[in-house]
Amino acid sequence: MTDALVLRDLSKTYRNGFQALKGINLTVPEGEFYALLGPNGAGKSTTIGIISSLTKKTAGTVEIFGHNLDTHPSLAKQQLGVVPQEFNFGQFEKTFDILVTQAGYYGIHKKIAEKRAEHYLEKLGLWEKRNIQARMLSGGMKRRLMIARAMMHEPKLLILDEPTAGVDIELRRSMWDFLTEMNESGTSIILTTHYLEEAEMLCRRIAIIDRGVIKEDTSMKSFLNQLNEESFIFDLAEPIGPLQLNIIGVKFNLIDSNTLEVTMDRAHTLNDLFQLLESQGIRVRSMRNKSNRLEELFVKMVEKNLEGEAK
């Protein structure tokens, strides 16, 4: 099986001297759903810019399904579909025309292109808007149009740069379903996002980039296993007074008489915790994670890097 994407020693230094990428290496296997995460300015968009030929690299190589982007650009580009962060279609073009034109750039015959355009516009809920100029679409519709456009040549590797930014939750969920379906049908996907629950839910592997360096490149499962402790919020059935419990590895914080925050390390299980609460006569109505697990890890990692830099 050929890898969908291989980046070798990829680096980029802008004209002002800013080094956005410092020789990154990354391999995305075929069929993978990959999250590329990092704080703002970490180098995610520069990496995507280089892969999509919009940014010139300073050094390194990019291979898409075994085709070197420098030596076989046509073959490499045929395999790749990109949904950039910013809207980059002709604002005065009709939705349907944008898709058919995009297919034409890949040498796809007009009749086939029209059928595909119909398929993807229907799939993404834009068929009713097919004769509307792109500038008249809402933000969410424009995002979906960009996804439909990227799919027109049915790429084997799809890269999405924050596709759900500014999109309402209902639409975001329909996009997740669409992307999951694409991935299940064999399309390799790389996703950058600031919604970490999105990355946790969709992606099987994760790469974290920070200041132009890949800090993590592992499976989502093993990355989440690094989380040593987890916080939960309990909504209590009856109000309680101050707690006097001293248990190693478990911290209690009574937010108000009906809300209890519990932080516990991995040595304890939820069963232990519920037994303890039961013994204290505390009844729980409902519980939830204080924050997303991936978010906790991500924030910790970024903070650690910041502290390291400050020292």
Binding site: Y14, G49, S52, S53, L54, T55, K56, P73, S74, L75, K77, Q78, L80, V82, P84, E86, F87, N88, F89, G90, Q91, F92, E93, D97, T101, Q102, G104, Y105, Y106, G107, I108, H109, K110, R149
Partner: protein, 257 residues
């Protein structure tokens, strides 16, 4: 991409260009038709009747080829400069950069788009001129070749202008301050043989003189300069501008970071 895919890609760009200038026809097709009709009425009919003959034909007949050529030049240039700058401005040029379309196809796509508008407007102006004078073609090859090669040249010029342009103002500077004066001084309204020796020689460094005269020869059989030399000059200019345009596109000037 194989040959068939390249053809589809080229036709896709051309079709998009044609769709664009037809969609905004009140800005692209109507103004030259009105302007040139005014030239025919004022210069051809009113002023021309007092001038009499020029170059062995009536003044109206004399200015028709020049005005057609003027329409071809300005429209070929304007089409590519405004269209390519627009795709840069809206960032939809990224669609093309990310795609496997070879740079030569991208460049030819825009140039053919410019030719289509230039030739269409030239045809409209020719049709308008027939209300004012009879028109016969003296040499079909020279006529058609001159129109096409001139259109290619100014489409390439428009492309280079659009690559360097950073605002919409930048794509109107060259047409206003360079193209229009060169066209007016390029023998559209007068035979350069009617000028004094110094001005005649000075006129010969204006490339538009060669295009207007070659085209006038194609239609009327009259030219102030050697037609073969004119066609060679214009063709060479095309080759030079194509090289520059391709280099700028390959470098990604103003298009890639």
């Amino acid at each position: 991409m194989n040959f068939s895919q390249l053809q589809i890609a080229l036709w896709t760009i051309v079709r998009k260009e044609i769709r664009r200038f037809l969609r905004i026809w009140p800005q692209t097709l109507l103004p030259p038709a009105i302007t040139m009709s005014l030239y025919f009425v004022i210069f051809g009919n009113l002023v021309g009747s007092r001038i009499g003959q020029m170059g062995g034909v009536s003044y109206m007949q004399f200015i028709v080829p020049g005005l057609i050529m003027m329409a071809v030049i300005t429209n070929s240039y304007a089409n590519v400069s405004s269209s390519f700058f627009s795709v840069k401005f809206q960032k939809s040029i990224e669609e093309l950069i990310m795609s496997p379309v070879p740079l030569h196809i991208i460049l030819w796509g825009y140039v053919i788009g410019g030719i289509c508008r230039g030739v269409l407007v030239g045809t409209i102006v020719t049709a308008m001129s027939m209300f004012f004078t009879d028109l016969f073609i003296h040499n079909w090859f020279v006529t058609i070749y001159t129109v096409l090669v001139t259109s290619v040249l100014f489409s390439l010029g428009g492309f280079i202008n659009a690559v360097y342009a950073k605002s919409f103002d930048d794509i109107s500077i060259i047409p206003t301050f360079v193209l229009t004066p060169l066209t007016y001084l390029g023998g559209v309204f007068y035979a350069i043989s009617a000028l004094g020796p110094f001005w005649q020689k000075l006129s010969l460094i204006n490339p538009i003189v060669y295009m207007v005269n070659a085209f006038r020869f194609g239609i009327l059989g009259h030219s102030d300069v050697n037609v073969t030399f004119s066609l060679i000059i214009v063709t060479l200019c095309c080759a030079v501008l194509y090289g520059i345009a391709y280099y700028l596109l390959a470098r990604g000037s103003g298009m890639r970071e």
